[in-house]
C-alpha cells in the first residue's frame, strides 16, 4: 500500500496533538513537482518519544575522535560513557607499531560522588599523568560528559597545564551530552578541536606525493576505508590522511598539504572541509564510495578535478578492471534481490548513500531518513543561507578561521573552480531528497512508533538501520540489516564492498530460518478426520 495524505494523517492522529504537529514537519512524501520540499531537521526530539538518537559525547568522542589510533582518549566523567564508547563502533585500525595503537584501551576518570561535590579537575590531572607514564602517547584527548559542565570543571585549564607539564598535545572537548539535540553537536565540537589543535601543526609544506588527498568523514567501519584506499592508491593518489578511520595524529597534523579533500560523511565533517578551504585554499569534493556507480562516479570526479590525462586514463582502466571482476560475482545476488523493497534509516549520510547500492541490486528504497542530520543533508547546501539558527545550535561555538598567510594557496584558479562546479559536486552537496523517487517517504529522526506504523503500511522486504531497532523489526518477520556496524561484516564500501553487501543482503532474504516462524499446528485443527463412525 502506498502512503497518501489520508492514511498518513490517520497514522499521526494517534499522537497527542502537540506531537503530531511537530512530527508532521519531519516527514515528507517526495513530490518532484513541488519546487523545493522543506523538512524540519536538527531540532529537539520530544521527550518520551522513543528516538534512536544519541548525544553530543557520542558524536564527539564516539564518532570523530575515537578512531584516532595513536591518541589516548580520556573520558572525564562517571564510568558509563567511556564504557559504552569502547570498541563498539567497529572503526578498525592497525599500526606498524603496536605499542602506539591504543584502540583496545578505555580510559575514564570514573568520577565518584566526592568528585561531583568537590570537583574532578585533580583526578583528571592525575589520570593524564598516569596515562603518560603507562602509554606515553604523542597526544591525549579529554572528552567531557554531562556532569563536568554542570559542576564547572575547567578542563581547558587542566589540558593547558598538562601540555606544559608533559610537552605533548593535550586537547579538551566540552562535549557534554546535553549539548545540542543529537550526536551532531558533538561532531561540530570535535571538528573545531581537530582544526584548532591538530591539523596544520605538522611541519610539512609540500604534498608527499602526486595527487595528494585527505579522506574526510570516513571512519573505516568494517574496513571501508582500506577498500577505498586500495583503489585510490592503485590509480595513483597519495592519501595524506583519513579523518578519522584508522586515522593517526601524526598524519592528521600534516593534512594541510593535500590538494583536495574528499568528503564521504558530509554531516559529521563538513565543518573541517569548509575550514580547510578557507584556511588553506583546498576545495572539497563530495564523494560516495557506497555502490558501484557512485564509486566510479566519485573516482571520475576526482580525476576531472586534477585534470591530468594519465590520471583520467588510469581511473578508467581501474574502473573497467574492477567492474569486469565484480560484475559476474554480483549476478547471482541480483537475481535474489531484484524487485525487493527497503527502508534505509541511518545517521547522517548512509541513509542517502546506500540507496544507490540498493538500486543497483534491484531493490527500491521506499523510506529513508537520517537520525541526526541537518536540513542541508536533505535539501542540499543551497538552502544553508535560509536555515534559522535556534537556541540549541547557538550553544555550539562556531570556529572562525582565516586564510593562513604562509600556507594558503588556491589549488585551482577561481575560473576553473566555477567550471568544475557546474559538473561535479565540488565544495557542494545536493542532499538526499533530490535523489529520491516520487511517492517515497523521507523521515527525519524516525522513532519507534513511526517505524512500526510505516513497516506495517509499506511492508518492506528489508529494513536497514541500527542495533536498537534491528530486532524490533525482525520480530515482525522482516530481515533487518544494521548499517551502522554492518552486522559485524564488511567492508561495504568500494567495489569489493558492493559484493560483500550484496552477499549479506541476499543471505538475509534466502535464509531458511524465516520459514520456521509458524509452527505446523497453527493452522491444522487438533481433532481431524471422522469421529464416532464406529470404525474402531
Amino acid at each position: 500500500m502506498a502512503v497518501n495524505e489520508k492514511n498518513f494523517d490517520k497514522m499521526l492522529d494517534q499522537y497527542p496533538a502537540k506531537v503530531k504537529r511537530n512530527r508532521k514537519k519531519h516527514i515528507i512524501i517526495r513530490d518532484s513537482s513541488t519546487a523545493a520540499q522543506e523538512i524540519e531537521a536538527n531540532t529537539r526530539t520530544i521527550p518520551g518519544v522513543l528516538t534512536n538518537r544519541g548525544c553530543a559525547f557520542a558524536g564527539c568522542k564516539g564518532v570523530v575522535l575515537g578512531p584516532l589510533r595513536d591518541v589516548v582518549h580520556i573520558v572525564h566523567g562517571p564510568i558509563g560513557c567511556a564504557y559504552y564508547s569502547w570498541l563498539t563502533r567497529r572503526n578498525k585500525a592497525r599500526s606498524d607499531d603496536p605499542g602506539k595503537n591504543f584502540m583496545t584501551y578505555c580510559v575514564s576518570t570514573d568520577m565518584q560522588e566526592s568528585d561531583i561535590v568537590f570537583g574532578g579537575e585533580k583526578k583528571l590531572a592525575r589520570t593524564i599523568d598516569e596515562v603518560m607514564e603507562i602509554f606515553s602517547p604523542e597526544a591525549i584527548t579529554i572528552s567531557a560528559t554531562c556532569p563536568v559542565g554542570l559542576i564547572g570543571d575547567d578542563i581547558q585549564q587542566v589540558a593547558r597545564e598538562a601540555r606544559k607539564r608533559h610537552g605533548i598535545n593535550v586537547m579538551s572537548f566540552s562535549c557534554e551530552g546535553y549539548k545540542g539535540v543529537s550526536q551532531s553537536a558533538g561532531h561540530h565540537i570535535a571538528n573545531n578541536g581537530l582544526m584548532e589543535w591538530v591539523i596544520g601543526q605538522g611541519t610539512t609544506e609540500d604534498p608527499p606525493g602526486q595527487f595528494a588527498i585527505n579522506m574526510l568523514g570516513e571512519y573505516n567501519i568494517g574496513g571501508d576505508s582500506w577498500e577505498v584506499e586500495r583503489v585510490l592508491k592503485e590509480i595513483g593518489y597519495t592519501v595524506v590522511s583519513v579523518m578519522t578511520g584508522d586515522g593517526s595524529y601524526e598524519e592528521l597534523k600534516n593534512a594541510h598539504v593535500s590538494q583536495l579533500n574528499l568528503v564521504q560523511c558530509h554531516r559529521s565533517i563538513n565543518y573541517i572541509a569548509e575550514m580547510l578551504e578557507k584556511k588553506y585554499g583546498t576545495p572539497w569534493l563530495k564523494v560516495n564510495f557506497i555502490g558501484i556507480q557512485s564509486t566510479a562516479e566519485s573516482l571520475r570526479n576526482m580525476a576531472l578535478y586534477f585534470g591530468d590525462e594519465g590520471l583520467i586514463q588510469r581511473t578508467e582502466e581501474v574502473i573497467a578492471r574492477e567492474l569486469a571482476r565484480i560484475e559476474p560475482a554480483l549476478e547471482k545476488y541480483k537475481k535474489i534481490c531484484d524487485g525487493k523493497t527497503a527502508f534505509c534509516f541511518v545517521g547522517g549520510s548512509r541513509g542517502h548513500h546506500y540507496q544507490g547500492l540498493y538500486q543497483e541490486l534491484g531493490i527500491e528504497t521506499l523510506l529513508a531518513g537520517y537520525e541526526f542530520a541537518h536540513r542541508d543533508d536533505y535539501e542540499g547546501r543551497d538552502i544553508l543561507p535560509h536555515v534559522k539558527t535556534d537556541a540549541d545550535s547557538k550553544n555550539i561555538p562556531d570556529l572562525q578561521v582565516v586564510p593562513d598567510k604562509k600556507r594558503f594557496r588556491l589549488k585551482i584558479p577561481e575560473e576553473r573552480m566555477a567550471q568544475l562546479q557546474e559538473k561535479i559536486p565540488l565544495s557542494n552537496y545536493q542532499g538526499m531528497i533530490s535523489d529520491m523517487k516520487d511517492g517515497s517517504i523521507i523521515v527525519d529522526d524516525l522513532n519507534h512508533f513511526e517505524t512500526e506504523e510505516f513497516v506495517r503500511l509499506l511492508k518492506p522486504d528489508i529494513f536497514s538501520s541500527g542495533i536498537k531497532d534491528k530486532y524490533i523489526v525482525q520480530k515482525m518477520g522482516i530481515p533487518s540489516k544494521q548499517l551502522h556496524n554492518y552486522d559485524y561484516s564488511g567492508p561495504y564500501a568500494g567495489f569489493n564492498g558492493a559484493v560483500n553487501f550484496a552477499r549479506d543482503i541476499s543471505m538475509s532474504f534466502v535464509s531458511p530460518t524465516w520459514n520456521f516462524i509458524e509452527p505446523p499446528w497453527k493452522n491444522i485443527p487438533l481433532l481431524e478426520g471422522t469421529i464416532g463412525e464406529g470404525e474402531s
Binding site: 521527550p47 584501551y105 576518570t109 598516569e130 551530552g177 516462524i517
Partner: protein, 461 residues
C-alpha cells in the same frame, strides 16, 4: 593485542583503564524490564538511553524499549521537570504501558531533580503507575542500579494487606539472565512452594519469534504480585549486591523476613537455596532434584582430573563472581585472581564485603590469591602477566586479555556480546552447574588438543 600493558604494576589513583563495570542506569533498565508491561524511562540526556538500549540489545539480541527525557542545555540549567512531565504524557498516550519506571542519571542527579515531586505533578492516566529509582552513575555500578530499581519496585508497589502472612516466598533473582530466572523458578516450583519472583525478565528478554511484534511481551512480574509480596512470609534475596537492599526495605515496610543467600551458582549455593526453602516451608526436596544433584556430582567426580589444580583468573559482577569462586573451588580449581569492577561494601547497608567473602572461601581452601573489588581489567591483565593462569572466566571484554596472554577463555556474566544462546541457558542450579562444567572443560580440553604433539593427541580424555 593490548600491547601497551606493562608487566610492572604501578599504583594508580586516577581512574579506570578498561572497566569491569558500567554505570547504574543500565541496571535500572534491566530490572524494570522484569515488570510486565513496563516501560523503563531514563531521566537524562538522550545518549544515556541510547547507549543502554544498544548495549542490552547486543547482549540479549532482543528489542529493548526505553524512553528518555531528552535533556537539552536549557533543561540542564532550569531543571528537567517539564521534560519528564511531557515524557510521561507522551509515553502513556503513544505506547500505553501499565507502568513507567523512571530512573535518574548523573545529569539529573547533579542538578538535583526531585523525581517524586515531578511525578506528583504529572498527568498519569487512571490505573497507570509511575515508579522511580535514584541511580546516580557516580556511585556503585550497574549492579547498584539494578538493586536500586528493585528497591523502588518494593517501595512503590508492595503492601502488607493481611493480618497474617501468606505461606509464600518472595524470590529476588539478582542481575542474571532470563535463562537463570527460569531455572530459579523451576527449582522453586519443583519444591512445591508458592512464590513471587521479581523482577522477572524471562518471557521479556528471551521472547519467541512469532512474526508478530509486541512491545510488551507475555513475561515479567505482575504488578499485583509485587504488591502481594508484602504479604509473603519470607524474601529470599539471591546475591547480596543486587537483591539484599530490596529485601531489607520489604522487611522494614511490610514485615517480611529476609534471607540473603548467594546467587545459586554451583553445588553448594544451590544446596543452600533448596535448604532454605525446605526449612522455611517444611517441604521435602523431591527426588527429581536429588537426581539432578547426583548427576552433577557424578560428572564432577568422573572428570575431576580435568580441573584439579588448574589456575583461574575470574572477573565479573560481585554476586556471580562469589558464586563462581565457590564452585571453582568445589571442582578443585584455584581461582588465583578474582576481581569485580563494582566497588565493595560502599552502597547499601546490608551489602556484603566482596573481598572479605571471597578471601574467606579461598583461605579455607588454602588458595593464595589476589582479590579486588572496584578493580579494572588493566589490572587483571597485569596480574596475569605476573602470575599466569590456565583459564580466564568473565564477560566478553575478557577476550582481548585471553588473546593477548594466550589463555583459554570461558564467557560467563554480563555482557556477552560476541556469542549467542547464553541468555537462554542457566548457570544457576544443578543444571546450570553442569553447563559450567561443560563450558570449562570444553575450553581446557580444546586447548589441550590444539597444543598436544601428534603422538600425545588422545582419542579418549
Amino acid at each position: 593485542m593490548l600491547d601497551c600493558t606493562p608487566k610492572n604494576i604501578m599504583e594508580r589513583s586516577g581512574g579506570v583503564i578498561n572497566p569491569a563495570k558500567t554505570c547504574q542506569p543500565i541496571g535500572a533498565i534491566y530490572a524494570a524490564l522484569g515488570i510486565h508491561r513496563c516501560l523503563p524511562h531514563s531521566h537524562g540526556s538522550q545518549g544515556c538511553c541510547s547507549y543502554h538500549r544498544s548495549h542490552l540489545t547486543r547482549h540479549f539480541r532482543e528489542p529493548v524499549f526505553a524512553s528518555t527525557s531528552s535533556f537539552t542545555e536549557g533543561a540542564s540549567v532550569f531543571g528537567g521537570s517539564a521534560n519528564l512531565k511531557t515524557a510521561i504524557k507522551n509515553v502513556f498516550t503513544i505506547y500505553d504501558p501499565d507502568v513507567m519506571a523512571v530512573h535518574t542519571t548523573c545529569l539529573s542527579e547533579t542538578i538535583g531533580d526531585d523525581i517524586p515531586t515531578i511525578i506528583k505533578g504529572a498527568e498519569v492516566p487512571e490505573g497507570k503507575l509511575v515508579i522511580h529509582a535514584n541511580t546516580p552513575s557516580y556511585q556503585g555500578s550497574h549492579i547498584t542500579g539494578f538493586s536500586n530499581m528493585v528497591k523502588g519496585m518494593v517501595s512503590y508497589l508492595s503492601r502488607a494487606t493481611l493480618e497474617t502472612k501468606k505461606d509464600q516466598a518472595n524470590i529476588i533473582p539478582g542481575f542474571v539472565n532470563p535463562g537463570d530466572m527460569r531455572e530459579i523458578k523451576r527449582l522453586a516450583g519443583a519444591m512445591g512452594i508458592d512464590f513471587i519472583m521479581f523482577p522477572d525478565t524471562s518471557g521479556v528478554m528471551d521472547s519467541p519469534m512469532t512474526g508478530e511484534l509486541t512491545m510488551f511481551p507475555r513475561g515479567g512480574a505482575r504488578v499485583e504480585d509485587i504488591a502481594d509480596a508484602g504479604n509473603s512470609r519470607i524474601t529470599l534475596a539471591l546475591g547480596s549486591y543486587a537483591s539484599s537492599d530490596a529485601a531489607r526495605v520489604l522487611d522494614r515496610k511490610c514485615g517480611v523476613s529476609e534471607l540473603v543467600l548467594k546467587t545459586p551458582i554451583g553445588i553448594r549455593a544451590t544446596d543452600e537455596f533448596l535448604m532454605a526453602i525446605r526449612q522455611t516451608f517444611t517441604k521435602k526436596v523431591p527426588y527429581a532434584l536429588e537426581e539432578e544433584r547426583g548427576q552433577l556430582v557424578d560428572i564432577m567426580t568422573d572428570t575431576h582430573y580435568h580441573f584439579h589444580g588448574k589456575r583461574v583468573a575470574l572477573f565479573g559482577d560481585p554476586d556471580v563472581v562469589i558464586g563462581m569462586t565457590e564452585f571453582l573451588l568445589g571442582l578443585g580449581m584455584e581461582p588465583v585472581h578474582v576481581l569485580t569492577g563494582t566497588p565493595g561494601g560502599a552502597i547499601g547497608a546490608t551489602v556484603g564485603d566482596f573481598e572479605k567473602e571471597v578471601r574467606e572461601m579461598l583461605e579455607a581452601a588454602g588458595v593464595k590469591a589476589r582479590v579486588k573489588a572496584g578493580g579494572d581489567l588493566f589490572q587483571l591483565q597485569q596480574w596475569i602477566k605476573n602470575e599466569p593462569v590456565d583459564l580466564l572466566i568473565g564477560n566478553t571484554y575478557g577476550k582481548y586479555i585471553a588473546r593477548a596472554e594466550d589463555i583459554p577463555f570461558v564467557r560467563v556474566g554480563f555482557p556477552v556480546l560476541d556469542r549467542s544462546c547464553h541468555s537462554y541457558f542457566p548457570i544457576v542450579g544443578y543444571r546450570g552447574a553442569m553447563r559450567l562444567v561443560e563450558m570449562i572443560s570444553g575450553a581446557l580440553l580444546d586447548r589441550a588438543d590444539r597444543d598436544a604433539a601428534e603422538e600425545d593427541f588422545e582419542l579418549v580424555m
